[in-house]
């Protein structure tokens, strides 16, 4: 059987000399789910952009149905039957589902936009491919999983034979991932072909038929999913053995942080965190589980001092945090790795060295009499760059020139450069490659072993299960379940509590709350 879509010897060098693709080969058969895996910066996205006509290869050729093709822009790719769903959706939030789907190729009755025909077309498509979405409500009101379906429908409406999904599961809850996979299987049954970009390996193994592994801009190999394990795939991706497990805390220390009847409100007065009680001990990681938007982030922000506490108290080593400024909290040993490194965790236009001291501008080691000690700042940066193996040209390089994983390492390096008492961590490895993820996990557990109390929130359940010693599940600002972590705890169990389908009784929670 000859391949439906082939890329042969693709090379792409970006202006500035970054070699994104260097002799990449990809061969996708009709009617299969083909996964492309690799670390961030391995060149997956560039390859997909070339397939979709957004970027143009410097070398190599693309073949579709055995014929050489070249797409000058996405429109030509779409016309040849290729569709792509990006990680960041391109939808108009105020438009309805069906309007978004047909936008750009609307059915017409005379010169009028034929709405009924559009709605009918969208209904038919969503039935055929088991992508159930109501065509009528505005897209902005839908949850992320549904929005993704709208994106897929958009591509199918344009008759995509080959559908490229760029990290589709990154934004989804476990149950939504299952539904996506049902749709993907339906697509394949109907003869469509799916190219699936990912770096969560269990999902890749579950959904794909064949896997192309990329590393450092090259294809490392192509394997059948049934022939590999998670471990062997990870080794192929990283090029060395990878430990995907971390050790649990061996001992628990004294209570470090106590949260009592805490309430946090939004600017409009809605309760985001409702009557929350939680204790965190030195030397343990407590995982905050929950679908995004159920109060985990807001709790962390309130403790960090970025949001007012409406009611209740948060103690750190017996001191109430509410009256303290951000700097005073940091002086007492609070450190925080924020959810969005670019929006909150870094000043990306500033240099790495400046970012690494930004939280310590009243520290006499770096600032005396209002004057910067540039030597000390540079030495600090060099030390941390080395200790956290940040890949950067030098301390003076702007943070914006770094890759996502290295940017996150800058944040982690700054927050862990001194041993914290209480460490708040939100999405530590979002959009970070496997190598950096492994490093960040190790850094977090080292901080824990050195006596930090850690509150960890993450959208990635496998991360929470890998790192946490205890887990508490948030639903609508309340804790609805609490667990001691063990190998028997599964994402599915957590999922039922995350979605509010079940909740524990106070007695059941006792064990996990301590």
């Amino acid at each position: 059987m000859s391949a439906l879509l082939e890329a042969i010897g693709i090379g792409k060098t970006y202006p500035g000399g970054v070699v994104a693709n260097d002799g990449v080969n990809l061969s996708v058969n009709a009617g299969e789910v083909h996964a492309v895996v690799g670390e961030n910066g391995a060149g997956k996205s560039t390859l997909m952009k070339i397939l979709f006509g957004i970027e143009h290869a410097d070398r190599g050729e693309l073949r579709l149905d055995g014929k050489v093709v070249s797409f000058a822009n996405p429109r030509e790719a779409i016309n040849s039957g290729i569709g792509m769903v990006f990680q960041h959706f391109s939808l108009v939030p105020s438009f309805s589902v069906y309007e978004n789907v047909v936008l750009g190729s609307e059915p017409h009755a005379g010169i009028r936009f034929d709405r009924q025909k559009a709605i009918a077309a969208v209904r038919a498509l969503s039935e055929k491919f088991r992508l159930s979405v109501d065509p009528l409500p505005p897209v902005g009101q839908l949850p992320v999983g549904q929005q993704q379906r709208v994106e897929i429908l958009k591509a199918l409406y344009r008759d995509a034979r080959i559908l490229i999904l760029d990290e589709p599961t990154a934004v989804l809850a476990p149950q939504e991932v299952e539904e996506l996979f049902v749709a993907v299987r339906a697509l394949v049954e109907q003869g469509r072909t799916v190219i699936f970009i990912a770096h969560k390996l269990p999902e890749v193994l579950e959904i794909s038929d064949r896997i192309t592994v990329m590393r450092g801009g090259k294809t490392v190999g192509q394997v059948a999913a049934r022939d590999v394990t998670e471990q062997s795939l990870a080794t192929m991706m990283v090029g060395r053995e990878v430990a995907l497990r971390v050790d649990r805390a061996s001992n628990d220390g004294a209570m470090a942080c106590e949260i009592k009847a805490l309430k946090v409100k939004s600017e409009s007065g809605a309760l985001l965190v409702d009557d929350l009680n939680l204790r965190v001990h030195a030397g343990e990681i407590v995982g905050l589980v929950g679908v995004e938007g159920n109060g985990q982030s807001e709790l962390l922000e309130a403790i960090a001092g970025l949001r007012p506490i409406a009611d209740g108290v948060a103690y750190l080593d017996g001191t109430s945090l509410s009256p303290l400024s951000v700097l005073e909290r940091r002086a007492r040993g609070l450190a925080s790795i924020p959810e969005d490194r670019i929006a909150r965790g870094l000043a990306s236009g500033s240099s790495v060295a400046e970012n690494l001291v930004a939280t310590r501008l009243d520290d006499p080691r770096y600032v005396r009499n209002g004057l910067l000690d540039l030597k000390a700042i540079k030495a600090n940066a060099e030390k941390l760059i080395e200790r956290f193996s940040i890949r950067v040209g030098g301390p003076g390089a702007a943070v914006s020139t770094l890759s996502g994983g290295n940017m996150q390492k800058v944040v982690v390096a700054r927050e862990l450069s001194e041993q914290p008492r209480l460490l708040l961590v939100n999405q530590p490895t979002r959009g970070v490659d496997l190598g950096a993820t492994q490093f960040i996990w190790k850094s977090l557990t080292q901080a824990r072993d050195a006596g930090a109390a850690v509150l960890l929130s993450s959208a990635d359940l496998s991360e929470l299960l890998a790192l946490s010693d205890r887990l508490v599940v948030f639903y609508r600002g309340r804790i609805v379940a609490a667990f001691l972590n063990s190998d028997t705890l599964t994402p599915e169990t957590l999922g039922t509590y995350m979605l509010g389908i079940a909740s524990q009784t106070p007695e059941e929670m006792q064990g996990g709350l301590r």
Binding site: G305, V326, L327, A343, A347, S348, G349, G370, G394, P395
Partner: protein
């Protein structure tokens, strides 16, 4: 990679950036001049002569060189004031107003008994800076306390300052004769001594050079400057890091205001005037925006840009006086420079041509395959 080579690399990187930026600014100036030449061709009966005046007149006589350098000093100060607020990502447009209140303060000091003593000059400059700082502080505090947009409030304060100056010159300040719109000449002790006799080059040039170093030092060597730049890059991050970004914003606007006030005193206490009159600054204050944008808000680049821009400005004024080309042509030139620099244009180089050639080469190739 060892640290020494890293340092070497980052130094080379910096040089490369400077070269690239300077090349861009120069390229923009050349393109704009080319367009100016075309316009002059159409508007002048003797285009070559007019263009010659534009390019060479400022250098022709010591007097014109003096006019040019005096402008450079003033453009440098206003450019620094705008650089300071731009680096904190505040868009306060208040330099013009600060110039007027600064000039008023300087005039009151100069025309008071203090003005006739040795203290007339320094106290005048100091009070001008104080008044300007206060005028810069108002939009800052209004933004922090009441959420007032600093662009609107600073622009409004400009009008208030201009009219206040107008009013006080007409009614309150001593005049040589009723009905004129100028005050008495300041006593000699309150006027900047010239550095070169017979030109307008005076103490203001020294102030400008000192200000360049002071602003550079404040921005890159003090913790206040680092905080200011961090706030400018990402205010959310600054808040998260425990930097009180509101205090930084207000202080940046206040410091820029002091520079605006200094500029006011440089006008009225300088060799140009030596007295206060209405509408004395001729919109120079606003041209600091252009200088700051082209200099990318870098204090050390500001005087260099001011040197080039001041030359063009002086050439345009002389062209207006000596030939039949209206000085508005230069308005077009400066607008083109801003457009080219602000839009981060790059010289159409290899890539551009490669793309054009690539497109046209690829199209027939595609045809051939069908």
């Amino acid at each position: 990679m060892s640290m020494t080579t890293q340092a070497e690399l980052s130094r080379r990187d910096r040089l490369k950036t400077i070269r690239r930026e300077a090349g861009r600014a120069l390229g923009a100036a050349l393109i704009a001049l080319g367009i100016a030449f075309i316009i002059v061709l159409f508007t002048s009966k003797a285009p070559l002569e007019a263009f010659n005046v534009l390019l060479t007149a400022p250098m022709s006589r010591p007097r014109t060189i003096g006019l040019w350098i005096d402008d450079v000093a003033k453009l440098t100060i206003t450019g620094l004031a705008f650089s300071l607020v731009f680096q904190a990502r505040q868009f306060s447009m208040g330099v013009q107003g600060q110039v007027y209140v600064g000039a008023l303060a300087a005039a009151y000091v100069a025309l008071s008994p203090i003005g006739a003593t040795w203290a007339g000059l320094p106290v005048g400059v100091f009070c001008a800076m104080l008044a300007g700082a206060f005028w810069g502080f108002i939009p800052g505090i209004a933004k922090v306390k009441f959420g007032a947009n600093e662009i609107v409030s600073s622009l409004m304060l400009n009008y208030i300052a201009i009219e206040l100056c107008n009013f006080l010159v007409r009614t309150n300040l001593p005049k040589p004769q009723p009905g004129v719109l100028t005050t008495n000449n300041f006593p000699e002790t309150a006027v900047f001594p010239p550095l070169v006799d017979g030109t307008r080059i005076d103490l203001g040039l020294i102030f400008a050079l000192v200000a360049v170093l002071a602003v550079w030092f404040a921005l890159y060597r003090t913790s206040w400057g680092l905080k200011l730049r961090l706030v400018g890059h990402n205010a959310n991050f600054a808040e998260y890091a425990g930097i009180r970004s509101t205090a930084i914003m207000v202080s940046a606007m206040t410091a820029a205001g002091a520079l605006g006030g200094l500029l006011g005193s440089m006008f009225v206490q300088g060799q140009t005037y030596g007295y206060l009159t209405v509408l004395f600054e001729g919109n120079l204050a606003f041209e600091g925006i252009l200088v700051a944008i082209v200099a990318r808000s870098r204090p050390l680049a500001v005087p260099v840009v001011a040197l080039f821009y001041g030359y063009l400005r002086q050439g345009a004024q002389l062209m207006n006086l000596r030939t039949d080309v209206p000085s508005e042509v230069i308005g077009v030139v400066t607008a083109i420079i801003i457009l080219l620099v602000a839009s981060s244009f790059s010289m159409p180089g290899r890539q551009f041509w490669a793309r054009i050639m690539g497109r046209s080469a690829a199209a027939p190739a595609l045809e051939a395959q069908k």
